[in-house]
């Protein structure tokens, strides 16, 4: 998922998936995160930087 917007104080990011779905993602496990970055997300939580596959 690609990061669109960040809420660093709450460790949340608004992300968009490959198919255009937008969700809030917990980023506490991978902070710091930048807008435009690709994150690997599981169950609403980013678990790694990069690698959509």
């Amino acid at each position: 998922m690609t990061v669109l917007k960040l809420d660093p104080q709450r460790s949340l990011a608004l992300c968009v998936s490959e198919d255009g779905r937008r969700i809030s993602v917990e980023t506490a496990l991978v902070d710091p995160v930048d807008v435009g970055e690709v994150l690997l997300v599981h169950a609403g939580t980013a678990i790694a930087h990069g690698g959509a596959g």
């Binding site: 490959e18 969700i23 809030s24 917990e26 506490a28 496990l29 991978v30 690709v38 690997l40 599981h42 169950a43 609403g44 939580t45 678990i47 790694a48 930087h49 990069g50 690698g51 959509a52 596959g53």
Partner: protein
């Protein structure tokens, strides 16, 4: 899209298939287990096995998180959903997993307040919106999903949300792999290691496979070229008498895993002495429960849970499918009594289940000639 398109290149795929062909010994049969259900799904979605020589057989492992939840655990969830004032939340796949007397979806149709969520955070949000109700989250999954549950419990504690609790059914990947390796039913030549679990746990936990059992492991991503390259790595190890854990998925998996995730899991969870797996029985130290430090957020301590063991239906052969002993189409009820619309076994429910992958991609039988 970055990280996707470059791993779906057909020309590179054909080149890797040629390399695989050059690495196999004619007359030898190779059995490689892909541990993760996500790999099984990708293999059939992209036709990866069609690129393999007939003497390279992919065997499907126990890495689908929904498939391994036993019937008794579903019954426990349904019992909790019928408690007064409870909103029971779970992932979509879990809604259709059959218990002994129906699924959570059936219980919802009977009037229980059961809601599908995308993440544990969604469940916590429902708790905040319904302060006069008890919200229970049915947590399932391997080490990939467990950190998400752990973070949510920490968030519930930090925000003093008292009407939220979790029925923890998280499992760990190494104990069932060891059980499979000890099983006399199965002879394997190597493993495609689970990419997403390894993102959390790293490569180190799989080193016992080459060290104790002499089998190569290649941790792989989920695109077709990832899987083909992992098969090349395994066959190359076999061809050169090497045996180690290789990491094909380096763009995501660090050797030491996600240290922050491991720390939060260690804080919130502890190992259960035993946990029952559908089709595999009880496996020691293979399940997680909520630690004493977070006991107030444990639904199994907050409510009375029946905890009754329920035998799998006799017609269903999910156990053999999960152990890689039979292919889905060899099950007596595959595609007839058991379909994605009316599943009998869990492997037909989840998108990561081997039976669902075979059914959805038209693999109703498979006869291949050995080169």
């Amino acid at each position: 899209m970055r990280f996707v398109d470059e791993f779906r290149d057909a020309e590179v795929g054909r080149a890797l298939a040629g390399e695989i062909l050059s690495l196999v010994e004619p007359g030898r049969h190779y059995k490689v287990m892909e541990v993760c259900g996500g790999h099984t799904h990708s293999i059939y979605k992209y036709g990866v096995d069609d690129l393999l020589p007939a003497n390279v057989e992919l065997v499907h492992g126990p890495g689908c998180p929904v498939c391994v939840i036993p019937m008794g655990r579903v019954d426990d969830g349904i019992a909790l959903s019928h408690e007064d004032g409870v909103i029971f939340t779970c992932f979509g796949d879990m809604m259709r997993v059959p218990g002994s007397e129906g699924s959570l979806l059936d219980a919802k149709a009977d009037g229980a307040d059961i809601r599908m969520v995308y993440s544990p955070l969604d469940a916590l949000r429902i708790a905040k919106q319904n302060p006069d109700r008890e919200v229970v989250f049915f947590a399932i999954g391997f080490e990939t999903t467990a950190p998400s549950t752990a973070l949510t419990l920490k968030r519930a504690r930090a925000e003093a949300i008292e009407n939220f609790s979790c029925m923890c059914s998280h499992v760990t990947i190494v104990p069932p792999l060891r059980a499979l390796l000890e099983s006399p039913d199965l002879r394997l030549d190597g493993f495609i290691g689970p990419g997403h679990v390894s993102t959390i746990v790293g490569a180190r936990p799989f080193e016992f496979i080459p060290a104790d059992y002499g089998k190569p492991v290649a941790i792989a991503g989920f695109e077709p070229l990832d899987i083909l390259q992992a098969i090349v790595m395994i066959l190359r190890q076999l061809a050169t008498d090497r045996c180690e854990v290789e990491n094909q998925y380096k763009r995501v998996v660090p050797y030491e895993g996600n240290v922050r995730a491991l720390e939060v899991m260690a804080e919130v969870f502890e190992l259960r002495p035993h946990f029952e797996w559908r089709g595999l029985g009880f496996i020691s130290h293979s399940g997680l429960r909520i630690s004493d430090a977070y006991a107030d957020l444990d639904a199994e301590r907050r409510f009375s849970v029946p905890g009754v063991r329920v035998a799998d239906p006799k017609a269903c052969q999910c156990g053999e499918v999960l152990k890689g002993v039979i292919k889905p189409w060899e099950c007596k009820v595959f595609g007839t009594a058991c379909t994605p619309e009316r599943p009998i076994g869990t492997c037909m429910v989840s998108s990561e289940g081997a039976c669902a992958a075979y059914y959805n991609y038209g693999r109703f039988a498979r006869e291949r000639e050995v080169v």
